[in-house]
């Protein structure tokens, strides 16, 4: 697996954010049971930025988010968030530091109705979206408030999963493929929402397959392959890097 490996410092250097980093991940390795998935991920996210992780299926993007969230059994390396070392913290502590996570598989609860699902995560900070704001964003939810969470359609569940963490007031959001399975009209809304959150000072770490969507929002990109960060660049450098990117992603 020596292909495409780059020195970590080189990558990070190419895309170091201007200010101090809110999140710093250094030499992160992670395992699922016996299988070694992440082989030294290093990157950082500055406060107020939108950063996107790109990469093929199975590259390790989701695993990276889960490691930051503290829900991977075995992980090593350093993860600093807001001046706290969270590499060994439990996920409830990490969440209470103000990290919001919207998982890829949505994680809607069958035994809770839509309202309970929405209200489930405790508010960790003030300043989250109000219910009204959420219903303007996702009118479907308002209509189905009383129904069982998993009875929602695939896309509705995705909306619910996003709405849920917007309520908590966490200032750092990790969204794993938030547009998957959504109709174009909703994707556009989510795009607008993320832009607005950013303007309000939220920091967002995004994982996306939908490159077109990501490119309209992100300040910087990292490319993940075989559990390593193999490249990174700012949005302004996007055009110049297009060919490289195509070969990374196999477009």
């Amino acid at each position: 697996m020596a292909d495409g490996t780059m020195t970590v410092s080189g990558v990070a250097g190419a895309a170091r954010p201007a200010g101090g980093a809110l999140l710093t991940v250094d030499n992160l390795e992670a395992w699922y049971g016996e299988s070694h998935i992440l082989h030294g991920i290093s990157f950082n996210v500055a406060a107020g930025e939108v950063v996107t992780l790109l990469g093929r299926n199975g590259a390790g993007k989701t695993t990276t988010l889960k490691s930051i969230m503290g829900i991977i059994g075995k992980r090593t390396g350093t993860i600093r968030f807001d001046n706290h070392d969270i590499a060994r913290a439990s996920s409830d502590k990490i969440a209470r530091l103000g990290v919001g996570f919207c998982p890829e598989e949505r994680g809607i609860f069958a035994s809770l109705d839509v309202r309970e699902n929405l209200m489930l995560p405790p508010q960790v900070r003030s300043g989250g979206l109000s219910l009204d704001q959420i219903f303007t964003l996702f009118p479907n939810l308002k209509e189905r408030l009383g129904s069982q969470g998993t009875k929602l359609s695939g896309g509705e569940q995705q909306m619910l999963a996003i709405a849920r963490i917007l309520r908590t007031g966490a200032r750092f959001l990790m969204l794993d493929e938030p547009t998957e399975g959504l109709a174009p009209v909703i994707i556009q809304q989510i795009g607008r929402t993320i832009a607005r959150l950013k303007s309000e000072g939220f920091t967002i770490l995004l994982v996306e397959q939908n490159f077109r969507f990501a490119s309209t929002l992100a300040d910087r990109f990292y490319v993940v392959e075989h559990g390593r960060i193999i490249d990174g660049f700012a949005n302004s450098e996007l055009q110049a890097n297009m060919d490289k990117l195509h070969s990374y992603l196999g477009v």
């Binding site: 299988s35 998935i37 199975g58 075989h226």
Partner: protein, 323 residues
């Protein structure tokens, strides 16, 4: 572009069959020489009956993914029927066995039709309920003689020639019965039917969408399992010469699960090892008096906490073999 599967990719069948063959020959040889070793044959015979029972149970749970918490009902039913047939009707042993097995088969069809329609924990509970019902029936019907049980069942001459009251003869008859049952189960697991069963366990919705009427397959597995469990019950009557309520009580169903679990769920030889381990424990711990149940409980706990694959399962896992 191969993904991250390299290295972990396992070959499908390959040497598994070879390993199982060696283990089978080893097991048969060991069992065949028992009467010559001075090992107490009665104990081994009892072990064989329970081993067959556990194997039958394993067919359903380990390969069909269905946890029956009422398997004692087959053991007990065939036991009572065989004992009654031998003692009261005076049938020869081979017909006594047939009577017991037929009774178990009928019972498994009747209860199967009811139970198989439910899944998971509901299946476990409904089998438990059916077994409890049957327990109460057996407790009260006269032919089982309540808590006294049917005692002193004559062993007789099998096919008119094999005198089963002779320990060695009885031993080889029981061994033969066990091996027959074991091979039937082994074949069923490795048959076209077994493949379908496995896929149903893996993803039932998908199997349905491929056009399988999964209930029918589960029912067949259930009937096979129940009938073979009944066979074990009939053999046991010949060995123990009695049939009693303990064989239909729910704790017996629990013991069957325990045997399978200790030996290794979903392994071919696990239930055999497990059955012998548990029987030996009950017999030889009897001298510890009050502590028997405590020790047995502790084994459950230890097994679940540290030994989840069971004895054979752990060994197979360690050597990366299938046993």
């Amino acid at each position: 572009m191969p993904a991250l599967t390299d290295g972990t990719a396992r070959t499908a069948n390959g040497r598994a069959i070879g390993d199982e063959m060696i283990a089978f020959i080893l097991m048969t040889a060991l069992l065949a020489i028992v009467p010559m070793t001075g090992i107490y044959p009665f104990f081994v015979m009892q072990g064989l009956c329970f081993a067959l029972l556990a194997c039958a149970f394993n067919l359903l749970l380990g390969y069909g993914g269905l946890l029956s918490f009422g398997h004692a009902m087959f053991l007990g039913t065939s036991g009572y029927v065989s004992a009654h047939a031998l003692k009261v009707w005076g049938l020869p042993p081979e017909l006594g066995i047939v009577a017991g097995v037929v009774a178990a088969a009928v019972l498994s069809v009747v209860t199967g039709v009811v139970a198989i329609r439910r899944q998971g924990i509901y299946f476990a509970m409904i089998t438990l309920a059916l077994a409890q019902l049957l327990y109460f029936i057996y407790l009260q019907t006269p032919f089982t003689h309540g808590e006294d049980g049917i005692q002193g069942v004559p062993q007789g001459k099998m096919f008119g020639v094999l005198d089963l009251s002779h320990p060695d003869t009885l031993y080889y008859v029981v061994l033969g019965g066990f091996l027959f049952g074991f091979l039937v189960i082994y074949r069923a697991i490795n048959s076209p039917f077994g493949e379908v069963l496995k896929s149903i366990r893996e993803n039932e919705q998908r199997a349905i969408s491929l056009g399988y009427k999964t209930d029918q397959y589960k029912l067949l597995a259930y009937i096979l399992s129940g009938t073979l469990a009944g066979f074990a019950g009939s053999l046991k009557v010949l060995v123990a010469q009695n049939a009693s309520l303990t064989d239909v009580h729910w704790t017996m169903s629990g013991e069957i699960v325990l045997m399978t679990l200790v030996g290794g769920l979903g392994t071919v030889f696990g239930p055999v090892v497990g059955a012998f381990a548990i029987i030996a424990m009950q017999q030889y711990l009897a001298g510890f008096g009050q502590w028997v149940t405590v020790i047995q409980g502790a084994i459950f706990v230890v097994c679940v906490l540290t030994f989840r694959r069971g004895v054979v399962g752990e060994i197979a896992h360690y050597f990366k073999r299938s046993l």
